[in-house]
């Protein structure tokens, strides 16, 4: 259910109609209705195991819902809980590979420019195996600073392993994305220091 009234005029980028999902035979959630419009930020909350990641995977098209329909207006950018990092690749190789794999190849200059806000431009040539967990998470998030990013972002636990300064920079980036008309769906156990209003979706048993 929404906590703010739906915006008029721009068509929604994401619609969920009476979506239900189960995992391992166990029902997770039922009857989820949602319309996400450009410029909106959606925070999916719930206890561990309540199906937050499953909902995000539904939105991306990685799983099919047990009931209901999911409509996504256009391409999206997905950074999951396990973001596909290969240890043997260097930071910049990983970034350019992920971008190209998503159909948005970037030049070396653009990649280095995206690594600067996450503080990894000096470490661009290091292999991912040599980085700490926090640095690896930041390497995964660097995609958000690449040009030509799609309008809808789906982020699973983006704050994991980030320090406060990086969390602030991430929140600024998400705010700027929403200002420019993009939308974000994210899960998180902690609140993000966002300036724009955030819609909330709570999953779990009543």
């Amino acid at each position: 259910m929404t906590t703010t009234p739906a915006l008029t005029a721009p068509p929604p980028v994401l619609i969920l109609q009476r979506v239900a999902q189960s995992r391992g035979g166990r029902p997770l959630f039922d009857g989820v209705d949602l319309a996400l419009h450009p410029g909106q930020l959606l925070w999916v909350q719930g206890a561990n195991g309540s199906g937050k990641t499953s909902l995000l995977r539904l939105i991306c098209g990685l799983s099919a819902p047990r009931a209901g329909r999911v409509h996504v207006a256009q391409a999206l950018l997905y950074i999951g809980h396990r973001p596909g990092l290969k240890d043997v690749l260097s930071v910049i190789e990983q970034l350019r590979s992920s971008a190209a794999l998503a159909g948005r190849p970037c030049s070396e200059g653009e990649a280095l420019a995206a690594l600067a806000p996450v503080g990894l431009d000096e470490a661009a040539g290091l292999r991912l195996a040599q980085l700490s967990e926090g640095q690896r998470r930041r390497a995964a998030l660097a995609q958000l600073w690449l040009p030509r990013a799609p309008r809808l972002w789906v982020l699973d636990e983006p704050l994991a392993a980030l320090d406060t300064a990086m969390a602030d920079r991430l929140a600024q980036r998400l705010d700027r994305h929403a200002d420019e008309g993009g939308s974000v769906v994210f899960t998180s156990h902690q609140a993000l220091p966002l300036k724009r209003p955030v819609r909330s979706l709570q999953l779990g048993w009543s």
């Binding site: 239900a20 391992g24 035979g25 997770l28 959630f29 709570q202 048993w205």
Partner: protein, 250 residues
């Protein structure tokens, strides 16, 4: 909205269980009669074969067993396809129920083939096209059972169903090529061959073979349906254990 065909109601446990409950006693009776009469005719009454003496009698077991092993696999593949296409629980349950019976008859085919080969060819096994194919069919069954049991978790049969169904389908599609390649291999190396010779069959032999075949078929059907009932009941109970998601939204 058009009404679905009435036969679909048997996909639900509420109809499947009573129907099979009524069928089963008849099937078991038919099995006992068929096997009893068929084997009595075949083992005691039918005359000995002109060329093979008493040893041929094992064919009363070998021929039905081979047929059942093959048809069970075809049925498994059929229900696998049905389950993947229409996602009904019963289709996957039937697919799983067929596997152990099919495996049993595949092994029986191998054992009886070996028992027949020993007095006839002097060897416990020959690598001819049919026996080798039977061995590979037995391996296909074992692979299916191994895969599904390695994937299954106590409450979620879904992944096991899907992987097993794909495996059964792929195996079934591969079977013609497999049989062709094994036959071709056999002709390359001029191996020995076990084929029942085509000379005249005495009426008692034919009657015995038909009765035994009918009896074994009834047994196989009864065994599969009994197992299917048990599996279906287990799934229904396991689903009932989870609380239904209540709305799910705050």
């Amino acid at each position: 909205m058009p009404r679905p065909h009435p036969i679909w109601r048997y996909a639900s446990p509420a109809h499947f269980l009573p129907l099979t409950g009524r069928l089963l006693p008849a099937l078991w009776a038919l099995a006992a009669l068929g096997i009893g009469a068929g084997l009595a005719l075949g083992l005691f009454i039918a005359p000995s074969d002109a060329q093979q003496g008493e040893a041929y009698r094992i064919l009363y077991l070998h021929v039905p067993a081979a047929w059942i092993a093959m048809v069970c696999y075809a049925a498994m593949a059929f229900w696998a396809l049905w389950g993947l296409a229409w996602k009904t629980r019963l289709a996957f349950v039937l697919m799983r129920a067929l596997a152990p019976t099919g495996a049993l008859f595949a092994v029986l085919t191998l054992l009886t083939g070996s028992l027949w080969g020993r007095p006839t060819w002097g060897a416990w096994w020959v690598w001819d096209a049919r026996l080798t194919s039977a061995l590979l069919l037995a391996l296909l069954y074992v692979g299916f059972i191994a895969l599904t049991s390695a994937i299954d978790t106590p409450d979620d049969p879904r992944r096991g169903d899907q992987a097993g169904a794909l495996l059964a389908l792929v195996g079934a599609l591969n079977l013609p090529v497999l049989y062709f390649s094994v036959s071709w291999w056999n002709t390359l190396h001029q191996g020995a061959s076990i084929t029942p010779r085509g000379s005249a069959i005495a009426p008692q032999m034919l009657a015995g073979l038909l009765l035994a075949t009918l009896g074994f078929w009834a047994y196989a059907a009864a065994a599969v349906l009994t197992r299917a009932r048990r599996l279906l009941q287990a799934r229904v109970e396991s689903e009932a254990r989870w609380p239904r998601a209540l709305g799910g939204l705050a």
